[in-house]
Amino acid sequence: MPAHHPVIPAELPRQNVLTWLRSRYFATRRDAAVTIVFAAFVAWILWSLIGWALLDATFAPNAGEVCREDLHGGACWSVVSTRWRIVLFGLYPFEEQWRSAIACIVMVIVAVLSCLPWFWSAKRLPLLWTAGFAIFYVLMRGGFFGLAEVTEQNWGGLSLTIFIFAAVSLLGMPLAIVFALLRRSSLPWIARTMALVIDVIRSLPLLSIMFTFAIVLPFVLPEGLTGDKLYRVIVGYALFFACYQAEIIRGGMQALPAGQEEAAKALGLGYWHRIGYIILPQAFRNALPPTINQFVITFKETSLVTIIGFFDVMASGRAASGTADWNFAVVEMYVFVGLIFFVFVFSLSRYGAYLERRLGVGRR
């Protein structure tokens, strides 16, 4: 297919709702059968879901006894309305939880702002994230400006999840760029060693890397270098992230025509200028959809720290429904935590899909 040819939008025949319905849902006899079967299936699921989640459900806080005696089998959202603070804030001191909430909102604002093309420059984006992260850390940690100090051991819930995600992104992205540059270095031994490191780390499960950094690293590091367990896990995760992201960036670089770098060389630009002004900006543009996808996966997989023993939003959800008086409402709690994740991840992935359409990457 030739690369450039004008796309002429076809004159569509005027449609009314009926013809549209017919062509989309009842085009052939088999289509009609498929539509009816699926519609019945959807109706049945919706009906049972609405019944469970809304009609037969208990919403009032502190209604655990009511739920327990309720034999309708409706959802007991009471567990959420009673214990949502644990899910969102974990062990954070009660009077200080507003700080945790504001810190989360700050990071969400940073994430939303970085979706605006105005911020897409090598100076603005890192600045935005560093500033947002600093505000987040000061708010959460305290100890300044008359805020009571709350150490990392007491962080938990959604703010811990967001903290891990932000720290991994902030640490992992520069690392990924370095890895990608080393990987395509013209010096064979550097390129080969880096390729080996990247391939090995990429073929290991994230869980085993987190586990190694949390449990094994203090064992092999000289004393004084071990640091807090939380930060070790973050470093391990950032390393994992960087290896995946480095391959994505490398893919973006490979898609660049060789002429770009050659032209820059011919103009007498040095290595750093070529990389900083010619190669990386275009590589990132090429790699934008998979990069967003990588962030989506990274956010979801922060939940793995639960297994290493951290009190992120997943673990705190489990803890909130883990006591004897709420243990029957585990499923409701999982649905709530799932909704929290869904809101974040779904909006990010929709944004990625929008970008992909806008950049026309999917269209060949």
């Binding site: 297919m1 989309r24 849902y25 085009a27 289509d31 498929v34 539509t35 699926f38 519609a39 299936f41 959807v42 080393l182 010096l187 064979p188 031994w189 550097i190 060693t193 490191v197 090995v200 073929s203 290991l204 499960p205 994230l206 869980l207 085993s208 586990f211 190694t212 449990i215 094994v216 064992f219 092999v220 590091l221 000289p222 989506v296 979801k300 997989e301 939940s303 793995l304 639960t306 297994i307 997943m314 489990r318 585990v330 499923v331 999982y334 649905v335 935590v337 799932g338 994740f341 869904f342 991840v345 779904f346 992935s349 060949r364």
Partner: protein, 388 residues
Amino acid sequence: MAAILKDRRVRETVLQGAFVGSIILVVVVFAVTARANLEAQGLTSGFGFLERSTGWRISFSLIEYSTSSPYWKAILVGILNSLFLGAIALPLATILGVTVGVMRTSGNGMAELVGATFVELFRNVPLILQLLFWYALLLALPSPRDAEPVLGSIALTGRGIYVPGLNVAGGAVFAAALILLLAFGLSLWLKAKRWPNLHLKDAGRERGGLWVLALLAVVAAFWLGRLPETPFLSVPEPKGLNYRGGIRISPELMACVIAISIYGAAYIAEIVRAGFNAVPKGQGEAGHALGLTNWQIFSRIRLPLAIRIVMPTLINQYVWLFKATTIGIAISFTDFFMVISTAINQSGQTLELIAILMSGFLIINYSIAWVLNRVNAAIKLRGTQLRI
């Protein structure tokens, strides 16, 4: 000194030496520190501990295992369990994922809606949360005493799912799996080897014969491997507080299989959809012009082309999904990772066990990628038959 560094070749050699050297230095520092720490704890390094007996139990095992079994056997049990889980969950994920992917490109509004909901729902929630959710649901099934058998003799209970099974030795099951795998590989090989000259009908007959032979061999393996003095077919029956007979699928295994296959299916569906969209429209239209039916166009033209287009992406996805099986530790499914972490707790031989874990995953993942790349090379279109 400065003059030497101005020479480009010298500079490059120094740079490369420094880079590789610093990585080696890190490894050496790790090893030296670990050795010092080990000596402080009075442990000896090395792999001798693999012969010691473990003293802990494993709830699910495909091979004979007891508390007096050595460490290497426990690790083997873990590896087999991981492979077993992957061998069930990955094909299920593929079947479900291809179905949903086809639904999403079918042109039928209702099917597309259901497919899109499925994908968005299961792709946007962490796997570990889904796993815990399914596990909670499975544990909430009625106790064996209250469970009513469904579909004749399948019992869904909170202690596991009981299905009818055959009373055969483990070796026979293993042989049967091997035979089926062999038949699959052979059919691919036959097709690849003689593909351009083989008539469609002959190919069908040849492959049909191959599968009939394979099935006969499986039946023979089961019959030869049947356990003496028990009925060939074992059906679960309620006895006292529990079910007896049949095969018990533990809630842990079941939850892992459900979670991984659904989560994987959501990703595979998107890959398959992209593949179908990448098949040029003209291919299907040409089929229409030749008078093929819709089903023929789908099964003979669009599906084969789509599979070839998505194969490289799918291979990465399989490796990624296999790595995701480590999540089983969240509900105490004794997979490779869980056995290793238990062994670290019990024996303290941290470095050796981590080395085993990492090399195990490297070997398994590279093998998956290698085998699938061979499959890809075998089925991929040669020359310029497909112009995209």
